[in-house]
Every structure is written in C-alpha cells, then in structure tokens.
Symmetry: C2
Subunit: 116 residues, 2 copies
C-alpha cells in the first residue's frame, strides 16, 4: 500500500522544508542574496538597494556569512573598502530563487486580474 510511503515522503519533505526555512527564511536573506547577484556591494549600497535598516542588515549579513552564503571582503589598499560577495555555495539557491520569483510574478498578475 502506498499510504505509508506517501506519509514517509511527506514527513521527509516537511523536515527538509524546515531546514530550508531555518537557513534562508525570514524577510531579508533571499533579498540580500538577490541584490548581491547583481555584483558585490558595500554595506551602504545594500542598505539603499533594499531599504533595510542598518541594524537588520548587519545581523543578516553575519548570519549569511556564518551559513556560508556570503563573504565579507576587506580591501586594505587605501582607501579601505569593504564589500560583500556571494560564495559559490549561494549558487545552490538558484532554483529556489527562480521558482519563487517566477511564481511571485504570476501570483501578482493573478491578483491584478481578479481585482478588475
């Protein structure tokens, strides 16, 4: 009977989603990553691009660094410049990013259509 198998599969997916949301859930993480896909950015550039407070940005960047998505680069030649750069590992998120943004686009269009 497939019941049991289905249940196992479901539980496994639930756990996996948990892990994923724990790492990249929240309001900012994916958005920061998208912004950095455009190219390395400095702290203030990110802040302006995302309309995020310094406090949150600082926190989230640390978190992203700890989890291996982002690297903080310090160029010591004067003037000293600090940039944030995506790591190789962050590329593993591309499918998620693609799926989310393409769905978001369609969803927004649906909402617009319904209102008319």
């Amino acid at each position: 009977m497939g019941q049991l198998l289905e249940k196992k599969a479901c539980e496994s997916r639930l756990g996996a989603i948990d892990d994923a949301l724990y790492a990249i859930g929240g309001k900012w993480k994916l958005k920061i990553i998208i912004a950095l896909k455009e190219g390395n950015k400095r702290f203030n550039e990110l802040q302006r691009a995302l309309n995020i407070s310094a406090r949150m940005l600082s926190r989230e960047l640390k978190d992203l660094e700890l989890n291996g998505f982002v690297e903080r680069k310090v160029y010591t030649e004067t003037p000293i410049v600090i940039e944030y750069e995506l790591t190789e590992y962050s590329n593993s998120l591309s499918e998620i990013l693609e799926a989310l943004s393409s769905w978001g686009k369609k969803h927004r269009q649906k909402l617009i259509d319904e209102r008319s």
Copy 2:
C-alpha cells in the same frame, strides 16, 4: 551596456520575491500545504501532523483560504465532517516546494558532513 538591464532584472526579481513571501512566507503556510498534499485532512489531524497550536492553525487556514490555496469543505451528512482540501491553484506552488525541499535536504547533509 548590460548594467542597466541587470539592475532592472534585479529589481523585478526583488519585487516578485516580496510578493511571493507575502503570500506564502512565514513558518506554517508551506508546511500546511505539504501536509494536505498527502490528502484532505481535518483540523485536529493537521494539528497533530504539524505540531502547530490551534490558534496558529486556525489563522493560517483562514489566510490560505483567502488566498485561494485551500478550501474548507463541510460534509453535512451526520456525523458532520469538516475537511481542508487543496485547490487547483495550490499546484502552482509545486516548483517552489520541490526546489525548497530538495535544497533543504542537501543543505542538511552538508551541515552533517561539516560537523564530522
């Protein structure tokens, strides 16, 4: 120059991700949907399957219904039974679900490997 194009694309993706997170962000929405993929479920079944409080489940189900992902079905034959069922539209999330859970699985494995 591709700079401008890239910037536009980035902003568009940021907006789309916003829309997506607004609709399906948070700790519970996707998990409820996954649980229902296994088959229709009653309130208490969902509660036990997800370890979610009645309060949150009630809220999230209303939200999911409003956004067209879930339908509340009432079977009036005694004994009266109330079930929650996924709508057709909820299938549009399958790519996201797939991407998230497969990434989550790999990510967890990575964490395990690193710890050894």
